[in-house]
C-alpha cells in the first residue's frame, strides 16, 4: 500500500496543470448555461495526457487523477470518457467521446462536439463514429453541451462492439466517479474562496460555524469520493459501482450547500458556480444513479 503519487504521475499532472493554467482565460462565464471549452479540450488531446490510462506505467488511477484535476476547473471539456474509457475499452474510437446509456433516443451530453458515441446497455458496449449531421441540438440545461442522435438505430447498426464490454462498463462507472468527485471539489473550492472573502455582519461568512461545519462535511464526502475512485481504478466492477454510487449520492447535499453559501451570486450566469453544480446535477443519474449502483453492489457482494 502506497498512496502517494508516483514520480511519473506527478510529472504528468504538472503537464495537466500547465495546460489548464495556459487555457484559463477563455473560461470566463459567457452568460450561457452550457458551454464547451473547445481549445482546452483540443490542447488536452494534443498533449497526450488523455491517453495515459492505456500505458502500463500509468494505468487507470492516473486517468482518474487527470479527470479529477481537469473537472475542478469551471471549463467544460470531454475528459472522463476520453481519459478513462477510451484508452482501454475502445482505443480506435475518435474523441471527444459521448457516452449514451440505455435508450439511444435520449439527449446526451457532449454529443454536439463528439466525434464518436459509446453505447452502453445491459446487452453490451459498442461505439460509432459521428458526423456533424448525426445529431439534433437540445437545450444544454446542465452546463454540458447536449444533443440527441438524429437516427439512433442507424448509429447502433453501424457501431463496432467493444472487445470487452464488461471492461467498458467498469471504466464508465469509474469515469462517473472521477468526474463527479472532481466537479464537486471544484465547486467546493470556489465556495470556500467566496465565503472566506465575502463579509456580512462585520465578518467573513466563512467564520460562521454553521457554514464551516457544512463545508467541512462536504469536504469529507468529496475526499471519500475522490479516494474511492482512486482505489476503484485498479479494482473490481463492485468497487467502481461503489465509487460511482458514493460520488453521485454526495451530490444532493453538496450541491445544495454550495448554492446556499454562494447566495444570489451563485444563481447568476456571471458566476461559474453552475458550471460545477449543474454538471454534478446531471451526473447524479448517470448510468442509472446511486440507488442502482448501491443495489447492484450489494447484490454482487452478498449474492
Amino acid at each position: 500500500m502506497l498512496l502517494d503519487q508516483t514520480e511519473d504521475q506527478a510529472a504528468l499532472l504538472s503537464t495537466v496543470s500547465a495546460i489548464l493554467a495556459r487555457a484559463s482565460g477563455p473560461w470566463a462565464p459567457d452568460g450561457e448555461r452550457s458551454s464547451f471549452a473547445a481549445e482546452l479540450d483540443a490542447a488536452l488531446e494534443a498533449s497526450g495526457v488523455l491517453d495515459a490510462a492505456g500505458f502500463d506505467a500509468f494505468g487507470p488511477a492516473t486517468g482518474v487523477l487527470v479527470v479529477q484535476d481537469v473537472c475542478r476547473t469551471p471549463a467544460v471539456v470531454e475528459v472522463a470518457a476520453s481519459a478513462l474509457i477510451r484508452p482501454l475499452a475502445c482505443p480506435d474510437a475518435p474523441r471527444p467521446l459521448a457516452v449514451l446509456h440505455g435508450d439511444a433516443t435520449r439527449a446526451c451530453r457532449f454529443l454536439p462536439v463528439a466525434r464518436a458515441v459509446l453505447f452502453l446497455s445491459e446487452a453490451g458496449a459498442s461505439w460509432c463514429p459521428l458526423e456533424p449531421g448525426d445529431v439534433i441540438p437540445v437545450e444544454g440545461y446542465f452546463a454540458y453541451p447536449a444533443c440527441r442522435l438524429r437516427a439512433p438505430q442507424a448509429c447502433l447498426a453501424r457501431a463496432t462492439p467493444c472487445a470487452d464490454p464488461a471492461l467498458a462498463w467498469r471504466l464508465a462507472l469509474l469515469a462517473v466517479a472521477a468526474e463527479t468527485s472532481g466537479v464537486l471539489q471544484g465547486g467546493l473550492e470556489s465556495v470556500v474562496a467566496h465565503v472566506s472573502d465575502r463579509r456580512q455582519f462585520g465578518r467573513p461568512l466563512g467564520t460562521f460555524q454553521a457554514l464551516q461545519h457544512r463545508l467541512a462535511a462536504c469536504s469529507t464526502k468529496i475526499a471519500a469520493a475522490r479516494w474511492l475512485a482512486l482505489k476503484a481504478a485498479a479494482g473490481t466492477v463492485s468497487e467502481a459501482r461503489m465509487a460511482a454510487g458514493y460520488a453521485q449520492d454526495a451530490v444532493e447535499a453538496v450541491a445544495y450547500d454550495l448554492h446556499q453559501f454562494m447566495g444570489a451570486m451563485g444563481l447568476t450566469l456571471e458566476h461559474p458556480l453552475h458550471r460545477w453544480t449543474y454538471r454534478a446535477k446531471l451526473l447524479r443519474s448517470d448510468l442509472g444513479g446511486a440507488a442502482r449502483h448501491y443495489r447492484d453492489l450489494a447484490a454482487a457482494e452478498w449474492p
Partner: protein, 380 residues
C-alpha cells in the same frame, strides 16, 4: 499509487485472523455482546491479551528491545482493524499498546518504564484514562483537577467523569493541574487506582454496563515520581500521545462485519430480494469503505513519516458516518433482532455507533478542525 497489500502485510493479517479463530472461545459472542468497554470484556482481556503476548501479537509494532517485533505502521493498523472487527477482545488494553505504553517508553523515567511496561507487554495491565471532567469535555484545557505540591509528593483533589474501565483499572493515566491556565500547567500522573482517597462510581449507561464511571480524588497523596514528563508541560505530550489515536479506532471494520451479519439474516428471512433493502445495504457498505479508504490515506501518510494533519479529523467524520449508516440500516430493517439479541455484534455495534461521534473528540470538533486547518476557512 497502489492499494495492494504487501506479502508481508497479508501474512501478518492471516496470522492475526488465525489467532482470533483459534483463541476466541465459543462463548465469545456472549461476552462481546456487552461491548468493548464492559466489565465482562475487560476481565476477558486479561487472559486473551496474555495469549496475544505469548504469540507476539500484543505489541508487534513496538521496538524489539521493548518486547515488540519492530513491525510496520501498517501492521499496527492491520492488528487494530482485525481486533475491532472481532469486537475488540483486547478490551481496554488496546489503549496500552496504542498510546499509553509508547508514551511511557518515550517520556518515562527508567523507573517508570521498569514499573509499568512489563505488565503492559505481558497483557495483564488495565489502565484508565482520566482526562474528561464534569466541566471539561470537548474543552479539555479547562480541566480543574488540582495537584498541589506537598513535600516530596503531590496531593490530588478533583473529579473525572466518563472514565472507561475505571471500575477494574489498576492504574490511571491522569491529567491534573499544578498551576496556570488552559494548556499551561497541566501534568500527567501515573498512579495506582488503589491509592487511598480515590472513589469510583459506575454510571449506568447505554454503552454496556461497567463502561462509564465517575472518579473522585479526595486528598490523594502520590509521590513526585508519579509525574510523567515535565511539570506543567503535559499538553504537547498528550498531543503526541494521541496523534496516533486521531484516526480513531478502525470502527468501520466492525460496522462492515455487523452489516454482513445483518445481510445474512435478511437473506434467511427473504427480505434480501427487496431492492430497497439491497440499495440501503450497498449504501451502508459504501459508507464503511469510504471511511476505510480515508483511514488508509492517513495511515499511509504516517507510514511515510509525514506529520499528522487535519485529514485525520476529516477521516473521523467519515468513520462516524459509517457507524451511523450501519446502525440505521439495522433500525430500519431488523428492529426485532435487538429484542432477541440474535445477530452477533449487533448491539455492541449499535452502542459504539452512538458513542462514535462523541468519544475522544466530538464530530463537531473534528468538523471545526477540518474547516480551519484543511479548508483554510477564516477563524472566528
Amino acid at each position: 499509487m497502489n492499494f495492494e497489500w504487501t506479502e508481508r502485510d497479508k501474512a501478518f493479517r492471516a496470522e492475526v485472523v488465525d489467532f482470533l479463530a483459534r483463541e476466541l472461545p465459543p462463548d465469545w459472542a456472549a461476552i462481546a455482546r456487552h461491548g468493548p468497554g464492559s466489565k465482562e470484556q475487560t476481565e476477558f482481556s486479561l487472559g486473551f491479551c496474555a495469549k496475544l503476548a505469548a504469540a507476539g501479537l500484543l505489541v508487534p509494532h513496538w521496538p524489539q528491545e521493548h518486547g515488540g517485533r519492530g513491525g510496520s505502521v501498517w501492521e499496527h493498523f492491520i492488528l487494530g482493524e482485525e481486533m475491532w472487527a472481532a469486537g475488540e477482545p483486547r478490551g481496554p488494553q488496546y489503549m496500552n499498546v496504542n498510546w499509553i505504553g509508547p508514551t511511557i517508553l518515550r517520556f518515562g523515567t527508567p523507573e517508570q518504564r521498569e514499573r509499568y511496561v512489563p505488565d503492559i507487554t505481558a497483557g495483564c495491565a488495565i489502565w484508565c484514562q482520566g482526562f474528561s471532567e464534569p466541566s471539561a469535555g470537548s474543552d479539555l484545557a479547562s480541566l480543574r483537577t488540582r495537584a498541589e505540591r506537598d513535600g516530596d509528593g503531590f496531593i490530588i483533589n478533583g473529579s473525572k467523569v466518563w472514565t472507561s474501565y475505571a471500575g477494574l483499572a489498576d492504574h490511571c493515566f491522569l491529567l491534573a493541574r499544578t498551576s496556570g491556565q488552559r494548556k499551561d500547567g497541566i501534568c500527567i500522573f501515573l498512579l495506582s487506582m488503589a491509592t487511598p482517597g480515590i472513589t469510583v462510581r459506575p454510571i449506568p449507561s447505554l454503552v454496556g454496563n461497567g463502561d462509564l464511571h465517575e472518579v473522585f480524588f479526595q486528598d490523594v497523596r502520590i509521590p513526585a515520581s508519579a509525574m510523567l514528563g515535565e511539570e506543567g508541560k503535559a499538553w504537547s505530550l498528550i498531543t503526541y500521545a494521541l496523534a496516533n489515536e486521531r484516526v480513531g479506532i478502525a470502527r468501520y471494520a466492525l460496522s462492515a462485519r455487523a452489516l454482513a451479519a445483518m445481510v445474512e439474516r435478511l437473506k434467511a428471512d427473504g427480505s434480501w430480494r427487496d431492492d430497497i433493502v439491497r440499495h440501503r445495504a450497498g449504501q451502508a457498505l459504501a459508507a464503511c469503505e469510504a471511511a476505510r479508504v480515508l483511514v488508509y490515506r492517513v495511515v499511509d501518510q504516517r507510514a511515510r513519516g509525514l506529520p499528522p494533519n487535519a485529514e485525520s479529523s476529516l477521516t473521523r467524520v467519515a468513520v462516524a458516518a459509517a457507524d451511523h449508516a450501519v446502525a440505521n440500516f439495522a433500525l430500519d430493517f431488523l428492529p426485532d433482532a435487538f429484542a432477541d439479541d440474535s445477530i452477533h455484534l449487533l448491539k455492541p455495534h449499535h452502542e459504539r455507533a452512538i458513542a462514535a461521534g462523541i468519544a475522544s473528540g466530538a464530530t463537531e470538533i473534528q468538523l471545526g478542525i477540518v474547516a480551519t486547518d484543511h479548508l483554510d476557512l477564516p477563524r472566528s
